[in-house]
Each structure stands twice: as C-alpha cells, then as structure tokens.
Symmetry: C2
C-alpha cells in the first residue's frame, strides 16, 4: 500500500513538474517525450485520481487538458496502427485524409469527455467542480460541432457516391448512428445547462453515465469509419470524385482541422455523383473491406443510373431545370420579383398572383416611366447609389389592408463585379409576424 | 314668390311620387322618361334643396341616389355629344370603349359627390345628415377605386405604347394629374373618417370645398381623356396593340363596368409595346387631335426602339433573362429554394449564402436519401399528399440561434395540372418580426 502510494506520489510529482513547465510557457510538443514516459506507467483508471489531486494543488483544469491531449494521443497510438498507415498514403488536403485527421480529434475529445466526467464524480472541492464543469462545457460544445462538420460532410458529400453505386444501406446505417450520437451530445449539453434542477449527486451520476455512453458511441463510430467506411470509399471513389468533394468541403466546414487545398491535377475533371459510372469493377469489389464484401453477397447491387440533365434543360450552375419548371418556381415563391436590367428597363417579373399587379406591357419599359412622376427622382437616386456601389439594398414597408408589404431592392452584379441590374422583391410579411414557437418536420400530420 | 314655392312644391311632389314607385319596386329604367321630364325643369341649384326636403319627409338617401344617376345622365347627355359618337364606333369590349364607358361612371360619381356635399351643408336634421354621410362614404369609397382601375389601366397598359412613340410628356402629365386626384380622394376619405375631430360647421365647409375641388378635377380629367388622350390612342394604336391590352385588362380591373371579351380576330397577333414599330405615319400624325399636333411641333419625337429580347435570352413568359441574370436573381432572393422533380430527385438549389448549406453533390439525389433516416417517412407522407392533391403546402418553423427559420414546401404543377415536383423554400423571418410602422419610397435618404 505504501509502495503504491509512494509510486503514485512520485508519478504525480513528475506530472506536476511537467505541468509547471507548461505553465511557465514551455512548448507542449517539446515536453511530449517526458509526458509520454510519465504517463505510460500510469493506468487509465489512475489518471482521473491524479488529475483530481493536481487540481486540488492549484493546477488549472485547462492545463490538465493539455496533458490529456498527450495521454489520448499515446493511447490512440497504442491501440490503432492501421489508421496511421492509411493516412500516410494520402496527400495533405485529400478529403479522405481530412476525415481520418478529424477522427483523431474526435477520439481525443471523446476520451477527454469520459476522463473529465469521471474526475467530476470524485471531486469534492466546490471550486474544482466549477473548473471541471467549465472544461466539460467546452468539450461538449466542441463535440456538438462533429454533427455539423465531420458527419455532415460524410452525409452530404460522400454518401451520394456510394448511393449511386447501390450501397445505400451503408449510408442509412451510418446516418442513423450519426443521429443517435448527435442526440446524445445534445442531451449532454442540456444536462449541463440544467444541472441546477437536480441534486449534485443525481447530476454527476447521470452525467457520468451519459458521458461514458456518448464517449463510447463516438469512439465506436471512429472505429467503424476508419476500418469499414473509409476503406470502402478508398476502394470505390476515383480522383475526379475526390476532387469534386474537395471543391465543396469548405462550404460545410471541418472539425478542428484546417486542410490545405488539394487538386489531383488540372487534367482530372471533377466528377459529381450524377456523372459517374456507378458499376463496380472486379478490382473495386476485391478491394472492399471484408465486412462490406460479406454484406454484398446477400443481394445484388442496384446501381442508380438516372440522368440528371435532360434535353433542353437550362444549366444554372447549381442545377438543371427546364423553362416550365422555372416558371412554376417563380410562381410559387413567397416573394414577387421584378428585374430591371443594366439599362433600367423592366426585363422580367414573376408570374402568378401578386401584391402589385404586373402585366406584360411593362416589359422593356424604362423603370423611370413605371413610377408616379412625383417619386421618380428617388428611384433614380437609389439606382445611382446601387450602380456606384454605395448602397447594397433599399428596403421599405407599408401597410395595405390586412397585408404588411415589405419591399426590398438590391443591385445584382456578375462574377466580375459588373452591374447587371436591380431586383425588386415584394412580400407580405403579415403572416410571419404572427408565427410563434416551433413546428418541426416530425410534428407534421397528414 | 308663392308661384316659385308652388312650382317647387309641385316638382317635389312629382319626384316624390316617382321615388315612391322606385321604393315599391318599379324598374328605374321604366321611370326614366318621367324622371327626365320632372328633372329637366329643375335647375341644378334647386336639386339639393328638394332632395333635402325629400329626405326630411322620410325618403332614404339611397333612393335619392338613384334619381341622381338619372339626373347626371341627363346632364351629361346635354353637354357632351361627341363622346357618344366615339363610343358607338367601337365594338363592345374594345379597351377604348371601356375607357369611355368608365368615364361616364366617373362623371356621374363626381357629380353625385358634389351634389351630396352641397346637400349636406344645408341639412339640419341629425338623422338626415347621418344618411347623407353614409351615401358620401360610399361615393368616396367607390371613387378611390378609380385610381386602382381606370387610371391604373391607362398608366400600365396604354402609356407604354405612346412612350415608345416618343409621346412621353403626355403620359407624364396625365400620371401627375391622376396622382393629384388620387390624393384628393384619399384626403376626402380621411376627412370623412376624422369628422368627429372638428365641429360640424368646420367639417361641412371643409368637406364641401374639397368635394367640389375633387369633383371638378375628376370631370376635368374625363374631359381631357375623352377629347385629347383617347383620340390620340385611337389615331396611333393598331388592332394588335388593342388586342394585347385587352388580354391584360382583367388583371387590373375596371371601374363599375364589366366589359365582354373582345378579339379583333385570330389572324391579328397581339402586339406588346416592345414589338411595335414606334415611328408615326403621316396618316397617324394627321389623325391626332389638334392639341397633340400643336405640342409635337416644338420638338422632334424620340422613338424608343430598344429591343427587349437579346441573343440567348430565356423566354420565361413574363420576360426575357439570360442565365447570368437568372443566377444573380436566385442568389439575391431572401428565400433559399431547393427543387425536387417529379421523380423526387433534387434538381436545383439556389446559390449563395444559405441557411441550410447545399452543395452540388446533392443534385440528382433522391430526396428520401437527403434526410435523416428517422424523418424519411414524413417526407414521403408529405410528397404523397402533394402528388394526390390533398395538400397545397407544408410549413415549419424553428429557432436556430438568432435566426427564426421558416420552411415551406409547395407542390408545383404545369398548366394541365400535372405534378412537376416540389419546391422547398427556407427563409429567416427574424428581421420581419422586428419590423414596425411604415417606411415609404419618399422616405428614402441617400
């Protein structure tokens, strides 16, 4: 017993000294080897206890968190050697490499969540509890972003490619698990926010259980992705597909990484899901992870070969529609639009029932002649401010019987900043002003 | 004096008997000749006095209004013979004939306004005053519609044709006068609504003066239109132009008339302002009213020959835009749209900064695969209800940080009622909920 205590006492002293060095400004990376040595001899179960004592002795939870990073990294290195291999094969900025890198961060945060939740249970000191709660809030707050970034990129950018190839089941299973994890993290955040509503004992017990469950689910997902999903993507997706994915990733964002741009070469055309040949080659099949090969044996793959672009479609850059659909879209908008071109002439108005009636006779008419002579000078002032880039919008609102009409003018510019014209948008905002509370998709009733 | 009184007493008795017959349900038109005889011998100045006495004796103001109609008609017939001629030359439903017919109604109401305002001044009885005020409210309420219908059709449907031909000044002068009249009628309505805020004497004096001014301005406009503007239109506009106008008139509406459809023939192509040859022929010039010919002597006409349709423009039915403009329009909309086609596949989303990020990878993806597996059954239920025509929209609203996100799904159909797809519209309504009061064009500051 004395020996054990002495041993722990010794390790604690070691860690404390290292932490002090961090506190004094020394670079964590430089201390890594020393931390490694100190931590490697401590069992994961002991760490929370030591951390607790360190906090008691005045070392802040934030500094301990830095040590955790190192600990988790060591832990990860010990258990998984394969991920590293995969990752090193891929160039920096390659979307698959980014996914692996994010998974390291997720793993680290999942473990930190578990460690801190355990520490919290054993902490008696009020001030320390507060500090640990602060760290937990930060970890949970970060983890909420996993859903918006890492999972979201997988669901929106990679799933369509495997769906086209008939592997829809994999996408559905992963998405269901992602949503479970999103839900768990949300509940953790709510538990933290509502901790005053229950006794401390009730709270820490609940929190520890939920945190451990969430931590496990997150790690489990990392494992599934690293070992099954990512190898599947690696086997199936071509350079052109990865290039298209890379071009869209920034729009969604990342979890704690910041990948550089990556381009497999100018001669590689970005391939969108609707542009690929979804049939699997024998080579691709053989490269798939065993688990996926096994799953495919049961049922034949249904490739999705539906063509996106039809004869006569207009390419709008973000989709392909025909004139009939375009007309119907403009008619359905909750906003009436009228477009005047760069020469101030009315060029288009949206059809259908409108707040301010428009008839074809207005087409080609200079906008100055479409207004009561009394207000023409203001129309001209607004257009001048738009063309000179001095104003980005002009808004007005008037009551008209039961309608509350909101009018917005905005100048339109092309990609090179050339003035294309001005758009008038008119909408009745009366109904929006009455809206209250929430109504979600799952509240919908037939 | 006795003779005069007796005379008036006699006329009054005549009118009273006629009004009783109306009251008993006899057709006004059948009594027209008798009314004509009775009214023809009364000076316009006497009429308000007689009406006042009739009201005192229990005949309602509404019934007296019917007599007024006949009186005004007789008056109009006496002063203007030319309009009748013009009108008879035109087929029923011809837009120019409709304008003339509306002017008869406007003339009648303008005179009734003046007559009743005068009667009001001389009315002492409280109950009678109330009744006359009721009639005046109705007349003023009707006259407000002159601006939305008769003037609006002229401004929106006929002005573009004369503007193209360089007669912009005529359009501007008429529009300015229309707006003055609109303003006068609005003030009359406000005066009526706010009559409790001043003494009765102050109110009737003010009202009589304003009513007389408004009545005169309305009649004066009828005169200008009938004698100058309509003959100008008659000299210049071709059958094709009138056909195009007729096709758009119903959208705006009419003042107290209900013209039948009119079509100069299937072989006559409707001509929109941007499709005409704006140059005036010698024949057209000579047919113009003297006043317009005189005005044209001063300065050469500047024909507007700007072409509306450009190379590569998309014809949207209500205008011509190119792809670049379309993209900019969708980007500027205060609504994010996503369109799924009849096969439930995502076909288009609007570009730019969005509430819910969309990337090209979603194009062609079945909408069922774009939702968390948990809510797919609801997406399918909504689409089924749309396709079967059981629902016309599905709306949702959720709070997202500072945003209040309003989501609306609507099914789109083609002209034959075939399902084209469903449009998802997403907007942040937080800013609309904050809007209060009014901000009009004339309030704009540079």
């Amino acid at each position: 017993m004395t020996e054990l205590l002495n041993n722990r006492e010794y390790k604690k002293e070691q860690l404390k000294n290292l932490l002090k060095k961090i506190h004094e400004g020394e670079d964590v990376n430089k201390l890594k080897a020393e931390f490694k040595a100190a931590l490697s001899s401590i069992s994961p179960l002991e760490i929370p206890l030591i951390e607790q004592e360190l906090v008691k002795e005045g070392i802040s939870a934030k500094e301990i968190a830095k040590m955790c990073d190192i600990h988790v990294e060591l832990f990860r290195e010990a258990v998984s050697g394969t991920d590293e291999l995969e990752e090193k094969d891929l160039p920096e900025g390659h979307p698959l490499r980014t996914l692996y890198e994010e998974n390291k961060e997720i793993m680290k945060d999942a473990e930190m969540l578990n460690l801190y939740a355990s520490t919290l249970v054993n902490t008696k000191d009020e001030r320390m509890r507060k500090e640990i709660l602060g760290v937990l809030e930060e970890i949970v707050g970060n983890l909420r972003k996993v859903g918006f970034t890492h999972y979201n990129r997988e669901e929106m950018l990679t799933f369509p490619y495997i769906e086209r190839r008939g592997l829809t089941a994999i996408a559905t299973v992963l998405w269901t698990k992602h949503d479970e994890i999103r839900f768990m993290i949300k509940r953790l955040a709510e538990l933290l926010a509502g901790r005053e509503e229950m006794s401390w004992e009730e709270f820490v017990e609940k929190f520890k259980a939920k945190a451990s469950e969430t931590s496990f689910a997150l790690s489990d997902m990392v494992f599934r992705e690293n070992n099954i999903y990512y190898p599947t993507l690696k086997a199936l997706l071509t350079e052109g597909e990865w290039k298209a994915i890379r071009q869209q990733e920034d729009e969604i964002g990342y979890y704690k990484v910041n990948p550089p741009m990556w381009d497999p070469g100018e001669n590689v055309k970005p391939l969108h899901p609707w542009e690929i040949d979804p049939e699997l080659s024998v080579e691709q099949l053989l490269e798939l992870p065993k688990e996926v090969q096994q799953a495919l044996k049961g049922q034949p793959l249904e490739f999705d070969k539906a063509e996106l672009k039809r004869e006569g479609d207009i390419d709008l850059g973000t989709g392909y529609v025909n004139v009939e659909e375009l007309k119907a879209i403009f008619e359905a908008l909750p906003v009436d639009v009228t477009f005047i071109d760069k020469d101030d002439r009315v060029r288009f108005f949206s059809p259908g029932e409108r707040i301010f009636v428009r008839t074809p006779s207005v087409l080609g008419r200079p906008v100055q002649l479409c207004h009561p002579p009394k207000s023409v000078h203001i129309v001209n002032k607004i257009l001048k401010a738009f063309k000179e880039g001095r104003k980005k919008e002009a808004t007005f609102w008037i009551r008209m019987g039961p309608k509350y009409v909101y009018i917005k003018y905005v100048p339109l510019f092309d990609e090179n900043g050339n003035y294309l014209g001005t758009l008038e948008m008119t909408m009745d905002i009366a109904e929006y002003k009455k809206i209250d509370g929430e109504k979600r998709l799952l509240d919908w009733r037939d």
